[in-house]
Each structure stands twice: as C-alpha cells, then as structure tokens.
C-alpha cells in the first residue's frame, strides 16, 4: 500500500466511526440500516469501477452477479436439513459439521446449511459463470459488449422470475442470520444494527484497499493500458484477453459477495435485485464517480444509494439515475468528484464568505 492511500483510508474510517457515534447519540440508529445496504451496493460499484473505468469494459449485467450471490445463499440456507435427514448428501453435510441451527422469526429451531458454506459455493459458482460467460463476451466491443452483458442480465432475471426454486416473483425470504466469528452476525435484527454497519464498512474499506493496491500494481498498469488502446497493449506484450477476463471475474465476485451479505442482512431477496435497471444504476454511479476513480465511485455509491434507499427521489428514482447518466456523459465525462469542481466549489465558498464580510463592514 502506497503511503498516499493511508490518508483517504484514515479519513474514511474516521467518517464511518464519527457517523455512527453521532447517529447513536441522536438516537437515530435506523439511519444505519440504509447506510449498511448502500455500503454493500457500493461494493458492487467498486468492482464495476475497476472493470469499466480501468479496463474499459462496460457491463450492463452486474446485477445478475449480485443476484447470483444472493439467490445461491438464499436457496442453500433456507433449505431445511432436518426435513431431509435421510438423504445421503444431507447426512454428509451434517457429518462434516457444515450445518447450523438457528431460531427463525417464529421462534422455531431450524437446521440449515452454514452460511459460510453457501458463501463459498456462491463465490465459486459466480466466478465459474463469470469465467465461462466472460470468455466469449469479452471478445466483443462497444455496442456488442453492452448488448451481450445486458442480454446476460435479462436471461438471469427471467430465470429468477420464472423458476419455482427461486420463489418466482415473490423471491425468497426468512433467511437465517449469517453468524460470523465472535458473536458477530449479519442479520436484520435491530439489535445487530450497529455491528452490521461496521461489518459492511469493514468489507467496503477492505475492498477499496484491495482494489487500490491492484490498480497500483503491474496488473493495474496493464489494465489501464488496455483502456488506452487494446492493440497497443497487445503489442507491448500484455495478454489483454487474460487480464480482461480476470478483472471481469474479480468484479463479478465482488458483486456476489455483496449479494450474499446484503441478502443475509435483509433476510430475503427478490427478483428486482436482478433487474436491468439495477445494473444500469450501477453503471450510472460508476460514471458519476468519474469512471476511473475508486474513491469517487465509493463516495457517490454510498451517497446515491443511500438517498435512493431512503426514498428521497420518490417515484422519480429511475428518472434521477437516467438524468445522471445523460448529464454526466454530456457535460462532465470526468465525473462529479474531480479537482476542478472542488476548486470551483472552494472559490464560490470563498467569494460568498468575502461578500458576507464586506457586507458586515459596511
């Protein structure tokens, strides 16, 4: 990690802690719920930023990977092992100690697969799917790539919506809490709110540190060279196909992990998580963040998702994201959080302060 990364990470950590303390002091801890959710969504956006901003490959199907993570864990952990004790596979799972017992919302004991196992399964499954689909898809460029990823997203959405196992339009609910080590648990219980906030924040910070390091490394430079010119990168000896594929898989895994944790946090998942509009809003946020800007994506991801989840946009939610896409692309392709904008902001602030002072002196 370069020293220059310490400062933003420290500032971010300080902000995270400060926000929790203020909110708890004001007895407004319910704000943390949506913030936790937006932290998970931001994890998807971080992965997508590396794919879009650094490697220059658009994906309009990232909600599908998120949904894959969420649905895999939902299906696996809501399956009642006690009801199928005779099944040899179930016996094996129980014998290996991969099961957990939790109390569901009605106070009954359920025996189910440990979320740790479903997390591993979800990550492996998503990585495998991303790998297999990535080989042909990443050969495409421009419109074709956009349409192919969009098509992939729609297929996943249709499958989720039309399959009995995935609960069709109702989705899957009543997920058990994901008990991590040492009494920590990811779940929807109001008592777990503060610790869940920190778990999500920890994942987000870990994710951003990991990706910053990646971008500053040799593979990161290779990726940026692909964005600059694929042919030139190829000529310089960069194995462009392999790098693109690895980044695609990496960003899919980020989305999948976010999906697993958010689904346990929410206690359920519905087909709307796989909708095309979700993927488009992820792309919109990456664009607002400035494409090749992890910190911009992180800040905008948290802020916009938070506003959207708290319902500040009302029935204009999708409209807002559509507008963001157009305005950013037309007027500020560098994103919102660039130095120039901050300078303009600082200048106006200084001017206003000066005016106020002048006004007082008169």
């Amino acid at each position: 990690m370069r020293p220059s990364v310490y400062i933003p990470v420290a500032v971010l950590t300080a902000c995270i802690i400060a926000f929790q303390i203020i909110v708890s002091a004001l007895n407004r801890e319910f704000y943390l719920t949506q913030l936790t959710m937006s932290a998970y969504y931001s994890l998807v956006i971080l992965g997508l930023t590396v794919l879009m901003g650094y490697a220059g490959q658009i994906s309009l199907g990232h909600a599908a990977f998120f949904a894959m993570g969420g649905y895999t864990t939902a299906v696996l952990t809501t399956y009642n092992l006690a009801g199928a004790a005779g099944n040899p596979l179930v016996k094996l799972v129980v014998g290996l100690g991969l099961d957990t017992v939790s109390t569901n919302a009605y106070g009954a004991q359920t025996q189910h697969l440990s979320p740790w196992v479903s997390l591993v399964v979800a990550v492996c499954l998503t990585a495998a799917v991303a790998f297999l689909i990535g080989i042909p898809i990443l050969k495409l460029k421009g419109h074709y790539l956009a349409m192919a990823t969009l098509g992939f997203g729609i297929i996943v959405y249709r499958i989720v919506l039309g399959t009995r196992m995935f609960g069709e339009a109702d989705g899957i609910s009543d997920l058990p809490a994901f008990r991590l080590a040492g009494g920590l648990a990811v779940g929807g219980d109001p008592g777990l709110r503060v610790q869940n906030y920190y778990i999500a924040a920890f994942l987000l910070v870990a994710g951003v540190i990991l990706l910053t390091n990646l971008i500053d490394s040799r593979p990161g430079r290779a990726l940026r060279s692909i964005h600059g010119s694929e042919e030139a990168a190829n000529a310089m000896g960069v194995n462009t196909a392999r790098y693109k594929l690895s980044v695609f898989v990496l960003s899919a895994v980020f989305a999948c992990i976010a999906g697993v944790f958010l689904t346990h946090f929410n206690g359920g998942i519905g087909p709307s998580e796989a909708e095309v509009m979700k993927s488009v809003s992820y792309v919109a946020i990456v664009a607002v963040g400035g494409m090749a800007n992890l910190w911009g994506a992180l800040v905008m991801g948290v802020v916009l998702n938070y506003l959207s989840l708290r319902g500040y946009f009302g029935s204009y939610d999708e409209f807002v994201f559509g507008c963001i896409l157009i305005v950013i692309m037309l007027f500020m392709p560098e994103g919102l959080l660039i130095k120039e904008n901050f300078r303009i902001l600082a200048d106006t602030a200084v001017r206003i302060v000066n005016k106020c002072r002048a006004g007082k002196q008169e």
Binding site: G142, M147, V280, S315, F321, C323, I326, P333
Partner: protein, 296 residues
Amino acid sequence: MPFEQLLQYIFSGITSGSIYAIVAIGFNIIYNTTGIINFAQGEFLMLGGMTAISLHSFMPLPLAILAAVIITSAVGALIDFIFIRRLKSPSVLNMVIVTIGLSIMIREIALHVWDEKVRSLPYFTGSEVTSINIMGAYISPQVLWVLGVSGVIVAFLGVFFRFTLTGRSMRACASNITAARLCGINTKNMVTISFMLSAAIGALAGCVISPITQTQYDCGTSLAIKGFTVAILGGLGNSTGAVIGGIIIGLLEAMSISIMPLAYKDAISIAILLIILFARPSGLLGKREAAGLKEF
C-alpha cells in the same frame, strides 16, 4: 402437430417477426448515419402508441395516428438537437450510456404523463373477435394491418434511399461520413433526419401493434432488445437482413412457446442474440470485413 396449428404458429411468428423487423430497421437508420445504436428506439414505439391513444379520444383514428407520428418524430429531432449534437467525438461507451439514459428518461416521463395502466388503440377494422380464416388458421384483421404497414415501410424506405436526394445523401453518410461532408452534404442535418425518420417509423409501428400487444409505459424495452437481436442477426445496417432476421426470430419464438414455458419466451430470443454475437457478430447478411473494421 396438425397443419392448421402449425400454420397458426407460423402466422403468429410472422406477425411478431415483422414488428421486430420494423424496430430493427429503426435501429439501422440511425446506426447507418451516426454509428450509434439508439437504445431508446423501443421508446419511440411506446411514445407513438401512447400519443395516438390519447389523441384518439377526441379525433378520428387516422388523424390521431398521423399526429402521433409527427409528434414522435419531433421528439426524435429534439433528442438529436439537445443531446446527440452536444457529444463531441464521443466514444462508443459514452453513446451507449447516453442513449440508455434517454430511454430511461422517456420511459419515466411517460409514466408520469400517463400512468402505469395498460392501454390500446381500437382495432383498425373489425374488433377483437373478428377473424379471417386462411387455410384453417384464424388470424385477426389487425395482423394483416401489421404485415401491410411493415411492407409499406420497407418499400417506402427502399424508394426513399434509392431515388431521393436526401435518401442518397444519408446513404453517402453511411458509407463514409468524411467524404460525404467533403461533397457538401450537411451531415449534421442528415443525423437529425435519421432520428426523425427512425422515430416516425417507430411511432407508426407502435400504433399498428397497439391493438394486438397493448401499450404500456415500459413496453419499449423488450421490443428494443428483440429489435436489436434482429438487427444483429440480419447484419447491422442491412434492411433486407432485418426483414429476414425478424421473420426467423419471430418464427423461433412462436415455436418456442409450444414447447417451453411462456416465462422463458424473452430468454429464448436473447439466448439467440448471445449465440449470434459469439459466433458471427457480422450477422447473416453483414460483411465480415466491415464488422471487423468498424470501431468495435
């Protein structure tokens, strides 16, 4: 499968296929002059249908459709003036994002102007229950309208692009935009015309299919994806290819309903799209070299 049933499926396939073909032709017109895939193409159909439905409450049907076509083509021109012209040397990625943003905006505006209710125009001739018997298969007269209008549109475009100065200028832009500019063609205006034409065709198609498929604020997206599949299958920019591709996709879809659950219907055509993209991105009638040379 008895012959009548097969024929019934074939008719239904050709009907939806010709709708997809019109959408694909709309894609092609804009693609040819600008190199943009207009992701908001489906919204033109929705807009045309919705406007005609609203206007029909106080004016006769033909007039309402005409007005809807004019209004939608004005919207197309407006989109070009406000958004597309502002893009200075845009990358394909930017164009994709802008047109997706446009499609969301149009859809959401439509949701707030109208509402989420499903509406439709009345049948042009007869009613829902009128049907014509063709060799044992029953089809609605509206299907003939759809087929007829698609045919007229294709014929009109053929004449327009071949025999009028504007049409030929647009073709010049398609083959080489710099050379066209050097010959004194105002390429910017050609882009505007292509947006207007594409919007007008979309609106007309939206009106004709409204009695059969109903119109709703979000009906454009799935049509656009089908239309894109067809455009790719036929070879981007190739109108004959679009018609052939449309009928192939339409038939495959109609047949798929008879063997697979209806919920997967959309997934079928998208799976076809992916297969074409992976195997032969230049499409059935597209030139392989041309697809390789273009900037993606």
